[in-house]
């Protein structure tokens, strides 16, 4: 038993740090650190840099262009990227649909789609959630009926993250309306340019356009775009959800946010002294940092178990809950640290192309918006209530 990283892992960390120092653009890191919104081009810029290094598809097998890293290496990479302020990887293509294609796709699908994801040519989004479904994913209503060598898709998806940037969407659709809930569902790859698709923005309470509704009106999808078997799409969905949940604790992001929280508390003053010297506020930071330490150790334990051949089971539900709560607690403190300075809603200061002088400080515009935005963490990817149901059922057998 040893909690320290091996010399090889430490060397790897240094390699990642060196890469980030030379390749992560300062302006990008600054935007991320300050919580500004990122443009499509920001994401693409970073994606290209990683691709050139061969470090974009960290979860893929080597033969398809992956890194072949161990889970520990992936964790180190994630952590260092977050610490350096690298943009978060938009995972719908590289980390969500790609594993499904690799696992269930035809050789033709692999040959066509995987290189386009690696090169950044395709931007994928996810067509899972529907207006009526919420956490009850399997109750989806979007249907597809076979018409010759096409499926004809009708229905609506929602909460489609960054769908406004995407040229492709992977969808769960109902192909057998008579079957039971989780049966009769198929997994389709759809070109967003196909006639009949409409994308409508959903503006969230922080004024951000991050999610969308996607409408399908007699959208014709070639049958070769079916992944796996017809009516067996739930298998793909479950496989993907397992992939999604791992790493949801977001340790690296929370650590970076905590660092920024400390910086803000050092800069803001209360009764003429830096806020960080206020014993109560300082203790609140200490408390969240201690809990984060515990969640990080738990993540490492699960990673090690995965490396040793285990499958991340319901523990990932615990980590999802704890990771989201900690991240929310940090943004809560960040907002509070600003006092009255958290009130102004200066959307232009959050825009990707803002380069003027801030009304107050460069760090002050984002925290209140972020606090509200981060409410999503306990809702999406299976709400924290659903995670507790899973724990009760799968782990505790209640």
């Amino acid at each position: 038993m040893n909690i320290h990283f091996t010399p090889e892992e430490q060397a790897f960390r240094q390699e990642v740090q060196a890469f980030l120092r030379s390749n992560l653009p300062d302006d990008l890191a600054r935007k991320v650190r300050l919580g500004r919104r990122l443009a499509k081009s920001d994401h693409q810029r970073w994606q290209k840099i990683l691709s050139q290094q061969g470090w974009y598809a960290v979860n893929w097998p080597v033969e398809h262009g992956g890194t072949g890293w161990s889970v520990v290496q992936k964790h180190i990479f994630d952590e260092e990227c977050a610490a350096a302020g690298a943009p978060r990887i938009v995972s719908f293509g590289v980390n969500m649909v790609a594993p499904v294609i690799i696992r269930f796709g035809t050789p033709a699908q692999k040959d066509y789609y995987l290189p386009r994801i690696l090169s950044g040519e395709d931007w994928w989004c996810q067509g899972y959630s529907e207006p009526g479904a919420g956490s009850d994913l399997a109750s989806l209503k979007t249907r597809a009926h076979r018409d010759g060598d096409h499926y004809v898709v009708n229905g609506q998806k929602t909460w489609t993250t960054l769908g406004q940037h995407a040229n492709r969407i992977f969808c769960l659709v109902r192909t057998d309306p008579g079957a039971k809930k989780q049966e009769g569902i198929s997994f389709l790859l759809i070109d967003m340019d196909t006639p009949g698709i409409t994308v409508r923005p959903i503006i969230t309470l922080d004024g951000e356009h991050e999610v969308n509704e996607v409408f399908f009106d007699n959208v014709r999808v070639p049958v070769e775009n079916l992944v796996g078997e017809e009516n067996r799409g739930w298998t793909c969905a479950k496989y993907l959800l397992t992939h999604e949940r791992t790493g949801q604790a977001g340790i690296g992001l929370s650590k970076a946010a905590l660092e920024q929280l400390k910086r803000i508390a050092m800069a803001e003053t209360v009764r003429g002294r830096p806020l960080i010297e206020d014993p109560m506020f300082r203790a609140r930071i200490a408390e969240v940092e201690m809990r984060l330490m515990a969640v990080e150790m738990s993540t490492l334990r699960i990673l090690a178990a995965t490396r040793d051949g285990g499958v991340p089971g319901a523990e990932s539900s615990l980590l999802k809950i704890q990771g989201s709560e900690i991240r929310q607690a940090i943004t809560n403190l960040m907002r509070k640290a600003l006092g009255p300075n958290a009130l102004p809603f200066l959307e232009h200061e959050l825009e990707p192309d803002f380069d003027g002088d801030p009304l107050y400080q460069d760090y002050s515009a984002a925290p209140a918006s972020q606090y509200f935005n981060m409410r999503k963490l306990s809702i999406y990817g299976g709400s924290n209530e659903i995670q507790k149901n899973i724990i009760a059922k799968m782990v505790l057998e209640l």
């Binding site: 006092g339 009130l343 102004p344």
Partner: protein, 380 residues
């Protein structure tokens, strides 16, 4: 001990509630928010015609002379409707400061216009580093011929962009105490940057570069305004608690409705026991908050005392905690839909959380209360 409203008070509450219901649908509010004023001058006009703007102002100045209880009733309804007008900051906070600090001439020249809703006032007491403490300010009044020149910057002056006059706190050069000056935002040397707050209302930052104020523009004795600021922040905080109450009631109502109608896994989600218990917890917090809103309203106009300060801090603390809890849980129980701009609940939640960023948040008032903790004379 009497928790009933008298007939006049009940009528006041009903009137404002009806006005808000009629004039302040969520769609209309969106329009007001996006308008150049950032609120509805027509609604303000109606408030003035029905005498609501005069409620907090003393009867000697053509006001209604309402107490904390009347302020509570008005603010609860404005809170329920998420109203954007700077009623609290102009009619209660600023007018209260003028009434407490101003000379009889100042009061006579300002308050009737305020009561009539003709002029609005604003208070510029926060600064980048003040963090809810009206005494931690850097703004300076430099004595000059027959007056002062103001230098410094003020942050988040709620309603400042539509105010006729602004009450600015500053320290007179080489002295310690806080003074309050009346300035015209159009005056030379005033630069104002206006913006909406994240919870809706409009505010501005002020840069003051040698703004000339006459002797007559000083409110009260030089350097002696801090107690009045603290006292009036207590009154305003109490009224703000009432605003939070109306808001919480509405957020709670929307959530309860949602739990009864939203179907998932084949049943209304309100059938799930864990959500039922969450609602019970929210209801509990709401009741505690309501109790403290009433307490705060009843003691807001009491003379200064440690007891009043403790009660008002306790009210702000309990209400801030309840507000954040209810805001967060209301969103959580709604799921994604609770986070969308086009649904009113999201705006209720934003306001509930951000109310703590005025007049001191829960941490600030916990520290205040802690400092004033009443200890037994005898050790164990």
């Amino acid at each position: 001990m009497d928790f009933n409203l008298n007939e006049e008070q009940q009528m006041l509450a009903d009137t404002v509630q009806r006005m808000v219901r009629d004039q302040y649908s969520f769609e209309k509010r969106e329009g007001y928010y996006r308008s150049s004023d950032g609120f509805s001058p027509e609604f303000w006009q109606q408030l003035s015609e029905l005498g609501i703007t005069s409620v907090p102002v003393g009867a000697d100045y053509e006001g209604f002379g309402g107490s904390g209880v009347e302020n509570m009733l008005v603010m609860t309804e404005l809170g329920r409707g998420l109203c954007l007008e700077p009623f609290l900051h102009s009619q209660i906070y600023a007018a209260g400061l003028v009434e407490q600090l101003g000379s009889s001439e100042q009061r006579r020249s300002l308050l009737p216009k305020v009561a009539a809703g003709e002029w609005r006032l604003a208070v510029a007491d926060e600064e980048p580093g003040s963090h809810y403490d009206p005494e931690s300010i850097a703004c300076m009044a430099i004595p000059c011929d027959r007056g002062w020149r103001l230098e410094g910057s003020k942050r988040v002056v709620i309603g400042g962009d539509s105010a006729k006059f602004i009450l600015v706190s500053a320290k007179i050069q080489d002295t310690d105490g806080v003074s309050v000056f009346l300035i015209d935002p159009e005056a030379d040397g005033v630069t104002s940057q206006s913006y909406p707050c994240i919870d809706g209302p409009r505010a501005c930052d002020l840069a003051l570069n040698g703004v000339y104020v006459e002797c007559d523009d000083l409110l009260g004795a030089p350097g002696k305004a801090a107690p009045a600021l603290i006292y009036q922040r207590g009154r305003a905080g109490a009224a703000q608690c009432a605003e939070a109450l109306g808001n919480m009631e509405e957020a709670f109502r929307l959530t309860l409705d949602y739990l009864k109608t939203r179907q998932q896994f084949g049943a209304p989600i309100g059938r799930f026991q864990s959500l039922q218990h969450r609602m019970a917890d929210m209801r509990g917090e709401l009741e505690l908050a309501r109790s403290m809103v009433i307490l705060a309203a009843c003691v807001a106009d009491d003379p200064v005392s440690d007891e009043r300060s403790r009660q008002l801090s306790a009210a702000k603390f309990v209400v801030a905690r309840a507000s954040q809890f209810i805001a967060e849980q209301a969103i959580q129980l709604h799921g994604g839909i609770g986070m969308t701009w086009e649904y009113s609940l999201a705006h209720h939640a934003k306001r509930l959380v951000m109310l703590a960023h005025q007049f001191g948040d829960d941490d600030f008032h916990l520290a205040q209360y802690s400092a004033l903790l009443d200890l037994p004379r005898q050790v164990a």
